[in-house]
Amino acid sequence: MNAADKKRVLREMLFARRFEERCYEAYVERKIGGFLHLYPGQEACAIGVMEAARPGHDYVITGYRDHIHAIKCGCDPKAVMAELYARETGCSKGRGGSMHIFDVEHHFMGGYALVGGPFPLAAGMAKAIKMKGGDEIAICFLGDAANNQGTFHETLNMASVWNLPVLFICENNLYGIGTATHRSTAVTEQYKRACSYGIESSQTDGQDIDQVYAAAKVAVDFVRSGQGPYFLELCTYRYRGHSMSDSGAYRTKEEVEEWGKRDPIVILRDRLVESGELTLDDYQAMDKEIFAEIENDIIPYAENSPEPKVEELEKYVLAENDPYVKGGVR
């Protein structure tokens, strides 16, 4: 990444942070309902990896903590916010919600709420890419605890045997809800688990976007060049609760503070300030601009968008007027 890129990704990370914080507020104000899993602390992961990949071109899939992944792929933040507000203008037409952000046009293939569910879906997309001969890759972002699901094992094995162009990104934030990874997992360094499948893997600091970018570049190139799947572990931390109803009691204040010192936004900001590429004033201005965008564009768009019509409740269940359903095709 050159200096301009770095400033851009700093802005993207800051935007991500503010966007999520604003979601939090809207939730507290009861404008948003349901489960809400936020991303603060992990921004360098999605943004760093996708910076090394081709957003809008590569196919991306993830779990329920999906807002930022979608936005980085090219999904309009207004459409994401409108989705959280359950509006017809939402990226999933208000039918999906926070856990089910979709933007197929930008190859963001969705957020899924079953832990481990996206693994095989990602490998399947990679299979399709391979059959169609494209140069896209499939990228699957999931958490550390998801790796205990059988689909992890089954999918990594198939991806390896069939040499599929799929990149698995493990955002290891040390917890699955309130269960510390070491309490649920025998081998906690997730990248080591790829050895059972003969899959190339590595681990890197998920708080430093330069490192994420560098590691992801290697991984993306490996996969795109047809050498097979790759598993990349990013060591990270979420600053908020698992979702909105989290007690937080399972983590010590010290631990949270310790990781707070490794804020991915601060790390990059300070690095840019130090190297003279940014001033703190620039940063403040950036933040203000973001604030304005969120408050003036994004939130009003969501607020003022219409809800889906109740008459359309049963739309989108099955294909409409599919010729093979009623017969008569010859």
Binding site: G96, A113, L114, Q149, T179, R183, E307, P308, L313
Partner: protein, 327 residues
């Protein structure tokens, strides 16, 4: 009798059974240190320790299977599946192992596990967290299925389920954990089979279970106050087996049946109750029985659509009025 919440009732049953029998254990995701998403095991980790109150990895099929295997040797696991939507992952062990082992071993081995899980549409949890799956559990031999509609049932059914030698699935509901109700102060074992008449009536029977008992009760009040119709409400807390005699008895009295279920209609509780009525007391009917069910859609996130996708007391009232005016 103290008034306690549904979750407290479940927690109390856990606690009593664990205190009594060192082989009773609890397992599930985040049930230990965190005390459970719905607090069903709150405080038990500290009381009984990590060997008996077990935080599992996210491995639904295998931790369920592990509980089943432990039950072969006399352990009595109470397994929590955090949401019934995740139960799809564990169905293989539930049906292929737990439900069949007694039969295929010629009675030598049994799997006295309890599997508890909340189903139902709560508040905007989306398509993958709002399924109602009782109908999937109740169609297959070898598994008992119960579904408590009150704290008393939640307590008493869990107590009985732990002691019973069959595998038992307990279908709870996300929206009911904070519901209050009276629970006997002393130990109480609710029968695993049967049904309960929750309200006496003469004009129509409303069959409900779990949350739909409450919709039925609300509907019965409205029908009585506003329309002079006295509905009987029958609580089908045992879904497998269903109480054929109890169903028939009420229909023979009211001659009209409405079945209220939160799930999509096809092959559901409503269909089965209708089938039982047709088989047992068809000629008692003065009107065609009716189902009040969910729409055949994955659950929408939008709250208005979500509510429109499942029935409520008003829909029950409307169904009854239509039935009775149409007579």
């Amino acid at each position: 009798m103290a008034e306690i919440m549904y979750w407290e009732a479940i927690r109390r049953a856990h606690d009593e059974e664990m205190a009594r029998d060192p082989l009773v254990i609890a397992m599930g995701e985040d049930i230990g240190v965190a005390g459970g998403t719905y607090k069903a095991t709150k405080g038990l980790y500290d009381k009984y320790g990590p060997e008996r109150v077990i935080d599992t990895p996210i491995s639904e099929n295998s931790f369920t299977g592990l509980g089943i295997g432990a039950s072969f040797l006399g352990v009595r696991p109470i397994i929590e599946l955090m949401s019934v939507n995740f139960a799809w992952l564990a169905m293989d062990q539930i049906f292929n192992s737990a439900a069949k082992v007694r039969y295929m071993s010629g009675g030598q081995l049994t799997a006295p596990v309890v599997i508890r899980s909340p189903g139902g549409t709560a508040h905007q949890l989306g398509a993958q967290h709002s399924a109602r799956m009782e109908k999937v559990f109740m169609g297959i031999a070898g598994l008992r299925v119960v579904t408590p509609s009150s704290p008393k049932q939640a307590y008493g059914l869990l107590k009985s389920a732990v002691r019973c030698n069959d595998p038992v699935f307990i279908n709870e509901h996300e929206l009911m954990y904070n519901m209050k109700g009276e629970v006997p102060d002393g130990e109480y074992f609710h029968p695993l089979e049967g049904s309960e008449v929750t309200r006496q009536g003469r004009d129509v029977t409303l069959f409900g279970y779990n949350i739909s008992v409450h919709w039925s009760m609300q509907a019965a009040e409205i029908l009585s106050k506003q329309h002079g119709i006295e509905a009987e409400v029958v609580d089908l807390y045992s879904l497998s087996p269903l109480d054929r005699a109890g169903i028939c008895e009420s229909v023979s009295k009211t001659h009209r049946a409405v079945i209220v279920e939160e799930a999509e209609a096809p092959v559901g509780v409503g269909a089965e109750v209708m089938a039982i009525i047709n088989e047992e007391c068809f000629f008692e009917l003065d009107a065609a029985p009716v189902r009040v069910s969910a729409k055949m859609v994955p659950t929408p996130f939008n709250h208005t659509l979500e509510k429109a996708s499942i029935p409520n007391a008003k829909d029950v009232v409307a169904a009854v009025l239509k039935m009775i005016s149409g007579k």
